[in-house]
């Protein structure tokens, strides 16, 4: 392995790891805000308890998202400095805007939310968590606009004097049709993740309390939380399908090689089938054997027409060689094929829980069945894995490009990974890769331990009732400290 491979492994590991926490943050912030809103409206203690319970889980998760996020911003410069020089004029802007518009908002108002219980007026305090929710979702927009430019560069020109891509229209960059499709898809994935998380935890607790004979808690607290999340999951699932389809069609047009590779479509076909299962002795086109496929479906996914012609990997390879010179323009067939299928298949795990969950809680029922508590827990990891698979697919499918050429745009705006990587000694990058991996593994263990510990403990005694309504008398006397409502 050379510096390029190690640098790619490092970027892959740190990014996939970062994106374990991010979707939960993006989806859970609005869900916690919704719970708190329900409390403010209905004044029911159960919503308050849910807010505090899921709020703690949210904070445990948020910390790691922030901690691993700094690495993301730094390693473009650290490990991909040539990429940074080439794209900085375009790519830096959404990153800077993300900090200025989104990160400040979410971090500042999260501090106000954590420490502001009982100190801020109720509605102001409620507004703080909504601002956090807006901030985390806004951050997703900026970073996806940046990533979409790597998939489909628009709003830029190539400057031969500086030898780099330069921004010509921030509006085109921010309204890139790739971003407009990818953003709702990623956010829907985040809502599916958070919905499954809340539903899974609540479902498990519902059965647990019911079996202990504590139907009241089960009915008044966990059932409403679970049903709220089942609905969120179904809406998110529909949104994922619709946006995924739009994104897929764009991708057939903008990055045909990625989609051909995802379908293991080696030769150009008319009425191309959607492959469900392939085997191959080698990770290449020649040895792929399609065992099970749905006729015409790939053509339909690409063009809404079962008889459409879809270009295969081999023809695209020839075409790219003519356009961009000799080289291997094929992404990793195995990884793109299976990550694409894992993304779709795993998301179905959550959908199953939502449908079954709505059924077992219908008409005021509280489930007692042990299998439902197992299903609830088993569903929780599936959307996390689906998110990872989706990103692995879209990033690996772009290879060997780091900035894929826009086939309908400026020809010179394109960069392969070997042109973008920093020229570090292998040992140095190995050292950082090992360092990050070990620290991330340790912190992942802590994250899992804490989440598990807090989930099993359930809503806590000291959160049983909201703090008294003493928010009206402003704490003015600076020299007479009163007890804080929360402290680290």
């Amino acid at each position: 392995m050379d510096t390029l491979d190690i640098s790619r492994w490092q970027f892959g590991i740190t990014t996939v790891y970062h994106f374990i926490f991010v979707p939960l943050t993006i989806g859970l912030a609005p869900l916690v805000a919704a719970m708190q809103t329900m409390w403010v409206i209905t004044k029911k203690d159960s919503w308050y308890r849910l807010t505090k319970f899921f709020g703690k889980l949210f904070l445990i998760n948020f910390a790691l998202g922030v901690a691993t996020g700094i690495v993301q911003e730094f390693q473009f410069g650290m490990n991909w400095s040539e990429y940074s020089r080439f794209v900085g004029d375009v790519f830096g802007a959404p990153l800077a805007l993300e900090g200025l518009v989104a990160f400040f908002l979410e971090s500042t108002f999260l501090g106000l939310w954590i420490f502001g219980w009982g100190r801020l007026p109720k509605l102001v305090h409620l507004a703080t968590i909504w601002l956090v929710a807006i901030g985390v979702n806004a951050s997703a927009y900026f970073i996806i606009a940046a990533n979409s430019w790597m998939q489909h560069p628009v709003g830029a020109r190539f400057n031969p004097e500086t030898g780099r891509a330069e921004l010509t229209s921030i509006w085109e960059l921010m309204t890139n049709n790739t971003a407009l499709a990818a953003f709702p898809h990623a956010v829907a994935g985040a809502f599916l993740t958070a919905g499954t998380f809340v539903a899974g935890v609540s479902g498990w607790w519902m059965v647990r309390e019911a079996r202990r004979g504590r139907d009241a808690d089960s009915r008044s607290m966990f059932r409403p939380a679970a049903r709220m999340s089942f609905v969120v999951m179904i809406v998110a699932g529909v949104a994922l399908t619709v946006t995924g389809d739009i994104q897929g069609k764009l991708m057939f047009e903008q990055q045909p090689m990625k989609m051909a590779s995802a379908e293991s479509l080696c030769e150009t076909e008319t009425g191309a089938a959607f492959s469900l299962l392939t085997v191959g002795t080698h990770n290449n086109c020649e040895s792929v054997v399609h065992l099970l496929s749905l006729p015409g479906v790939t053509s339909f996914l690409a063009e809404n027409d079962f008889g459409a012609t879809v270009q295969g990997v081999n023809e695209l390879q020839e075409q790219y060689e003519q356009q961009f010179g000799p080289g291997n323009y094929k992404p990793n067939l195995f990884v793109t094929y299976w990550s694409f299928r894992m993304m779709i298949g795993l998301a179905a795990g959550s959908a199953l829980l939502a449908i079954v969950g709505l059924w077992v809680t219908r008409g005021g029922r509280v489930p007692h069945q042990r299998w439902f508590s197992w299903l609830s827990l088993a569903a929780i990891p599936t959307p996390f894995l689906a998110n990872s698979a989706g990103w692995i697919f879209t990033e690996m499918g772009r290879q060997p490009w780091v900035v894929a050429p826009n086939l309908a745009g400026v020809d010179q705006i394109r960069l392969t990974v070997d042109q973008g990587v920093s020229d570090h000694p292998v040992g140095l990058v190995v050292a950082s890769l090992v360092t990050f991996t070990l620290i991330y593994a340790a912190l992942g263990g802590v994250w899992f331990f804490l989440l598990r510990r807090y989930v099993i403990e359930g809503p806590q005694e000291h959160d049983a009732h909201p703090p008294g309504d003493d928010t009206s008398d402003e704490p003015d006397d600076d020299d007479a400290p009163k007890q804080l409502s929360f402290a680290y």
């Binding site: 410069g77 400095s81 794209v87 004029d89 900090g99 420490f115 510990r453 402290a487 680290y488």
Partner: protein
């Protein structure tokens, strides 16, 4: 003033905001074990929590100044960003690791009510405060001093070249000034026994901070400064000397104003000495990165200027409001009992 000058100043302002705000966060983390020392372990724990909670609601927002500075550097000066971040690989790696540990340690410390857990988190907070404070000083001193950069804008200097006497003095300066800044901040935000001890500690730290910081400022000025940066040396020196007098009189409010001015003056001195270069090359001055050959195109700079002009006042507004909401002093008696869970299940 052209856009490149404006963005050079904007980058300086973002790092100034970062060092002023995160500076006292680092100081608080560095001093937590010292101010939390007590023969009764329970009192000690309450004191440590008092110290930590002075930055509780604000530290996370303060850190975003770094993220935004990094993003702005990428957007406004891509070559500077690329050369600096790839060239200072090891110090930045260490800073990242330290910041990761610190974020998790602060957030997770109170989640489990167990002395060993807390000790590990305290270690994380300590590493996460000392390491970045020293290394940011080393990094910025090296930027001003210049490092070996070749004709392709690549740093050819190794890690140990970065550990030269001037840079190490820069590291010591930031660590000491941040510790002092943090001690004064703790004094300002607390009452009772922690407050008294913080004032004493600040008074003790102020003299070495004047000496080391003064030496670094004068060295910077003599070796790299221009005429007007003498004013910054003067302001930093007067501010730090004033802290000595003010802490002796327990005027922590004014002392905090002075440590803030001192940190700001040091940042302005460093950036002022750097201008108009952004990464001077010791290999050949012709290879140096300047605001001209490292910057983005005029269009990008213009867009960024609009965004910054619109957003920065809003950000400063709501961050200032946060400090106003949490303006009340805290003390050992205002810290509630730990609500962390036990390591294992209790029932």
């Amino acid at each position: 003033m052209g856009l490149q000058e404006f963005w050079f100043i904007a980058i300086a302002v973002l790092f100034l905001g970062y060092f002023v705000l995160e500076g006292f966060d680092f100081g608080v983390g560095m001093l937590m074990p010292i101010l939390g020392r007590h023969k009764d372990p329970e009192t000690g724990e309450r004191r440590r929590r008092t110290v930590l909670n002075t930055i509780g609601p604000v530290w996370d927002g303060n850190e975003v100044w770094l993220i935004t500075a990094g993003g702005a550097l990428f957007a406004a000066f891509p070559e500077w960003y690329a050369t600096l971040f790839s060239g200072f690989y090891i110090p930045l790696l260490l800073i990242l690791v330290a910041l990761i540990l610190r974020i998790c340690a602060i957030e997770y410390r109170g989640k489990i009510d167990d002395p060993v857990w807390r000790r590990r988190c305290d270690l994380g907070i300590g590493i996460g405060s000392w390491v970045p404070a020293v290394l940011w000083g080393v990094a910025f001193a090296n930027i001003v001093r210049g490092v070996a950069i070749d004709e392709n804008k690549k740093v050819t200097a190794g890690f140990f070249d970065l550990l030269n006497p001037y840079a190490l003095l820069g590291g010591a300066t930031l660590a000491l000034v941040f510790a002092l800044h943090g001690a004064v901040f703790i004094a300002l935000k607390t009452s009772g026994d922690v407050h008294e001890d913080a004032v004493k500690l600040a008074a003790r730290l102020s003299i070495p901070a004047v000496l080391v910081g003064g030496a670094f400022a004068v060295w910077t000025q003599l070796a790299y400064g221009t005429t007007w940066t003498w004013a910054m040396v003067g302001i930093a020196a007067v501010a730090l000397v004033a802290v000595v007098a003010l802490t002796a009189r327990v005027r922590e409010g004014w002392a905090f104003v002075c440590t803030t001015i001192a940190v700001a003056a040091v940042v302005v001195l460093l950036f002022g000495s750097l201008y108009p270069e952004v990464m001077p090359s010791t290999t050949d001055p012709a290879f140096s990165l300047t605001i001209e050959n490292a910057s983005s195109s005029p269009y990008t700079l213009k867009i960024m200027t609009w965004a910054a002009a619109f957003m920065t006042p809003i950000v400063i507004g709501y961050q200032a409001w946060t400090y106003w909401v949490f303006r009340q002093r805290i003390s050992s008696t205002s810290i509630p009992d730990s609500i962390g869970l036990s390591l294992g299940r209790s029932r």
